[in-house]
């Protein structure tokens, strides 16, 4: 459906971005200026989005050439997501204001909230893959800025977050390249990627990008660090809400973009989804705290969203995305509140936590059951059942924490999964330490290779030149007969060159 040309989609990006810039340049003495700026920016974006209700609008301009147009499209399918992004930003800002949880460097933090909203809105509306990538990847900067605002110890976490996002996003660049080349277009609603090998790789790598954004396993490790080091509103807004919205939005476009992918690619995506649900379910059983449980439940629902990746588009997915984002946001905020209260006695926060936990579990169950109902093959059925088991684990995790809260004890799993559980508790299935070690090892090898090359020039070449000049010196010993021999040898070489040419 082609939309009416309008600058409104652009304004949905510009309004929060401009307010973000305003917050940044605001004098420090303006009390609560950052908070007011976030409210104004998010409200402005919300009002603009609401004014587009029932319309289909498009903003397209020539950009970097070669099919890379700046194209935004607002339609009844993505409008609810754009509205949800603005509303959740407002909720997080309100919570931050009321709880006083926003950090001392609030100007950078608050501006980053608005930049994140702007980028998320852009990613949700983008109708060109490069435009989408532009907004998608541009989230790195606000993520970095917001985690950094957590204090001096947050830098390691911010680096880990950006590196994790970098790895998945850069793989998605490759996927976008494969997909757009196969479809001979970068315009999302005009793309039909054929089910070729390259198209399937495009499908798989773009799915990796979405999986990374959703924070599904193996791209979830940084969430644990961020929950400790970053300010709580960051967790509520970015991994809890915006990342879920834009990740799910991309997945919902897959059925329209891809004519199909090879069964191998599809299977890998299903394994990622089902694996995420079951591992996150296990993590939830031994979470032992509200924040960790919030992470596990969010990761589980991310897995469930991945499970539905290639089978359903449009409204149903938008609904799932909004429910999961609302649940994720609420889980992180209430978990933070409950852990701050030490004993977890805050009734309102407890209520919010368990309601949102219920919603997250419901999303997880729905994803698994939906996939079972879809029944494509035995393999997909087995994976869907695995995901269902994961959802049951997640319920067990929630009930375990409820019991522990009632009894004032540490959460105890309902059933023991033995060594697998112990391994998971120890590693959290986070590949980051292994990746770090691998890169360190690779760096050592590279430095050794570079040193060897340097040695070749510094020592090898110098020695060789010295050796040659020594030979020449020996050859020129002052004897006339030696010089005659040299001349003759030279003449032979010259004659040989002429003869051969």
């Amino acid at each position: 459906m082609s939309g009416m040309s309008s600058a409104l989609p652009l304004w949905l990006v510009l309004i929060p971005a401009l307010f973000g810039a305003l917050v940044l340049i605001l004098p420090g003495k303006v009390k609560n200026g950052g908070l007011v700026g976030v409210f104004a920016g998010a409200l402005g974006a919300l009002a603009a989005a609401l004014s587009a209700l029932g319309q289909s609008l498009e903003f397209t301009r020539a950009w970097a050439g070669w099919g890379m147009d700046f194209s935004l499209k607002l339609n009844p399918e993505n409008l609810p997501l754009v509205i949800a992004a603005a509303v959740l930003t407002l909720v997080v800002a309100a919570w931050a204001g009321l709880s006083g949880a926003y950090p001392a460097k609030s100007k950078v933090f608050m501006a980053s909230m608005l930049f994140a909203l702007a980028m998320a809105s852009g990613a949700l509306m983008a109708n060109n893959l490069v435009a989408m990538l532009f907004f998608w990847q541009a989230m790195w900067a606000p993520v970095f800025g917001m985690i950094q605002a957590g204090g001096e110890n947050a830098w390691k976490t911010s680096v880990k977050a950006v590196f994790t996002a970098g790895a998945s996003d850069l793989l998605m660049i490759l996927g976008i390249g494969f997909a757009s080349f196969s479809a001979e277009s970068m315009t999302i609603d005009a793309m039909r990627v054929p089910a070729t090998a390259l198209g399937s790789w495009g499908f798989l790598l773009m799915a990796v990008g979405a999986i990374g954004k959703l924070g599904a396993i193996p791209f979830h490790g940084w969430l644990y660090d961020a929950s400790e080091d970053a300010p709580a509103p960051f967790m509520g807004l970015i991994p809890g809400a915006l990342n879920l919205l834009i990740g799910t939005n991309l997945l919902s476009k897959f059925p329209g973009m891809f004519d199909g992918a090879s069964s191998g690619a599809m299977l890998l995506v299903l394994i990622a989804g089902a694996g995420t649900v079951v591992l996150a379910g296990m993590l939830s059983m031994s979470a032992g705290g509200f924040k960790k449980l919030a992470i596990a439940l969010n990761v589980a629902q991310a897995g469930a969203l991945v499970l539905g990746a290639t089978s359903v588009a449009g409204g149903a997915f938008a609904f799932a995305a909004i429910v999961s984002a609302a649940a994720g946001c609420c889980l992180y905020l209430s978990a933070s509140q409950l852990e701050k209260d030490a004993a977890g006695k805050s009734t309102l926060a407890s209520f919010a936590f368990y309601v949102s936990a219920g919603a997250a579990v419901a999303v997880t169950f729905t994803g698994a059951l939906y996939r079972i109902a879809l029944y494509e093959s035995w393999l997909s059925l087995i994976l869907s059942v695995v995901a269902l088991i994961g959802a049951i684990f997640a319920v067990s995790g929630v009930t375990g924490l409820i019991r522990a809260g009632r009894d004032g004890e540490k959460s105890v799993p309902s059933f023991d999964l033995g060594r697998a559980q112990a391994w998971l508790d120890r590693t959290r299935c986070d590949p980051y330490p292994a990746a770090r070690a691998a890169f360190k090892g690779y760096a050592k090898v590279s430095l050794t290779v570079n040193d060897a090359i340097s040695w070749f020039y510094d020592v090898g070449v110098v020695w060789f030149v010295g050796f040659l000049s020594g030979l020449v010196k020996k050859a020129h010993n002052g004897s006339q007969s030696r010089y005659v021999l040299w001349v003759l040898a030279g003449a032979v070489i010259v004659i040989a060159i002429f003869a051969l040419s």
Binding site: R61, A62, W63, A64, G65, W66, M68, V130, L133, F134, F135, Q137, A138, W140, A141, Q148, E152, W155, K156, S158, V159, V162, F163, G166, A167, L170, L171, I173, L174, I176, G177, F178, S180, F181, L198, W201, F439, K440, Y442, A443, K444, V445, S446, L447, V449, N450, I453, S454, F456, Y457, D458, V461
Partner: protein, 478 residues
């Protein structure tokens, strides 16, 4: 002024002007500094005025015929003016930065002489129409580079300068052999007359050797990391902005715009570039010397440019050209930021830094912005260029090479983030109190950081310029 006059001024104002600087410096340092600025600003201004003509399809050109099939001339097409503009603009910023950086060092006359001479040689390389004069200007730049690296005259520094000279000068000699082969094959060294001519693989190999040595590509790259002992503005000039770009420019000029070369090279050069990009990115991850990290990063990023220029296809070519611009801006910014840090702390070891964002917020912010551009994060200019190069590689039918470069891009994120947090974030390991750089130094890095982001936000303009150049090149190629 006529076209030929303008072309002569672009090249000879800095070349001749450089020779006057040591004399003027004996009278007044301020006048010398001002004139150094003017001798670089004049070519830049003239090049801007030439740009519309360069893109019009009838660029300024002149040629004087010499005996033995030789000629002397300049030709200002879109590619040449684009490259010369980048070099002279960054040269200007580097000269301004030098005013603050070199304020208390000896031998400033020599420094400004070589910097301006180097830029003049660069103008000559970009505009010349003859292979033999290309070689002459190339060697002038190598001489200037040699003296600039050994500027501080310590024994170890001089050794490193010698190494750089021997590798790049040796490479140039090998390249000269390739030029001679072309001369013997076609009877001329005039690039305009050689357009569309086929050359042997041996000639390509010999010329490529010279190009790779100048552009510091594996295994001819080790001089670049060692050259970090030069004064920082010279390092920026050599590593980021100009010197290493000579190689990629000459590649584009000779192997994209002039000669028909075997299709084999469309795979071989990207493979060399990929190996170079990965090996140097790994070294950058493990390094602790801030200048060496940025130098290895240059080697790695040059791989992306080579990929774009060599793999074939307009999108990749455009990406490669755009990355010459974006990388020059942001990498110059990174080097100059590193210089401010080194200037303040008297160390290049990132383990002895940390927490500098508190005392050097402008430098930290500038480093951050430039690093994000090199990483290829939107909305910075580097994002579009890298994206186009990778898309171009896929379009050219080399998805695996594109995948290898994506791995290189992941490593770029890793080493630049590591450098940033080790220097500016985390706990402080600083032994002396740190402070921001002098005015001109700070203005320079802030300007480059701003350009890194503005060039991305308003990508339409540089992209249109590159598109026009690529269209011009495509007509010539066809």
């Amino acid at each position: 002024m006529t076209g030929p006059t303008l072309l002569l001024l672009v090249v000879f104002v800095p070349l001749v002007g450089a020779c006057t600087l040591p004399l003027i410096g004996k009278i007044s340092a301020k006048v010398r500094n001002a004139l150094a600025f003017v001798f670089v600003a004049i070519p830049f201004g003239l090049l801007i005025s030439m740009l519309p003509v360069a893109l019009s399809g009838a660029p300024y050109s002149f040629d004087i015929l010499l005996p033995l099939g030789m000629s002397f001339g300049f030709h200002a097409d879109g590619l040449a003016v684009f490259m010369a503009m980048i070099s002279s603009f960054l040269g200007l910023i580097i000269v301004v930065y030098s005013f603050g950086y070199l304020g208390h060092y000896d031998n400033q006359n020599e420094y400004y002489f070589y910097v301006v001479l180097f830029l003049g040689a660069m103008m000559g390389i970009t505009l010349t129409t003859n292979l033999i004069f290309l070689y002459v200007f190339w060697e002038i730049s190598a001489l200037a580079c040699w003296r600039l690296i050994g500027f501080f005259r310590e024994k170890e520094y001089v050794r490193r300068a010698n190494k750089a000279f021997l590798i790049t000068g040796g490479g140039a000699l090998v390249m000269l052999a390739g030029f001679l082969m072309i001369y013997f094959q076609h009877g001329t060294m005039d690039l305009l007359l050689l357009r569309g001519k086929e050359i042997s693989n041996t000639a390509v190999l010999l010329i490529l050797f010279g190009i790779l040595s100048k552009s510091a590509t594996l295994p001819l790259h080790s001089w670049l990391a060692d050259a970090g002992v030069a004064p920082t503005p010279a390092t920026a000039l050599l590593h980021a902005a100009v010197l290493v770009k000579i190689g990629v420019y000459v590649y584009a000029r000779l192997f994209v715009m002039t000669f028909h070369i075997d299709a084999f090279w469309n795979t071989a050069v990207p493979v060399i570039a990929a190996v170079s990009a990965l090996a140097s990115a790994g070294a950058a991850i493990g390094e602790n010397d801030i200048k060496r990290i940025v130098a290895y990063s240059t080697v790695s990023q040059i791989g992306f440019i080579f990929l774009g220029l060599s793999i074939g296809g307009e999108a990749a070519l455009a990406g490669g050209l755009m990355y010459i611009l974006m990388h020059a801006i942001s990498k110059a910014g990174l080097f100059l930021c590193a210089g401010i840090v080194e200037h303040s702390l008297h160390t290049k070891d990132i383990r002895k830094m940390g927490g500098l964002i508190k005392t050097m917020p402008w430098t930290a912010a500038s480093f951050f912005l430039c690093a994000f551009s090199v990483m290829g994060v939107p909305p910075f200019g580097g994002f579009f260029s890298k994206d186009m190069v990778i898309h171009g590689a896929i379009e050219a039918g080399h998805p695996w090479i594109a995948a290898v470069f994506v791995l290189g891009a992941v490593m770029t994120v890793l080493y630049l983030m590591r450098a940033f947090y080790r220097v500016f974030l985390g706990a402080s390991h600083v032994e002396h109190p740190a402070h921001e750089g002098r005015g001109t130094m700070e203005y320079s890095v802030v300007l480059l950081a701003a350009l890194s982001i503005v060039s991305g936000l308003f990508i339409y303009y540089p992209a249109s310029l590159v598109q026009a150049i690529v269209s011009q090149m495509a007509v010539i190629i066809k």
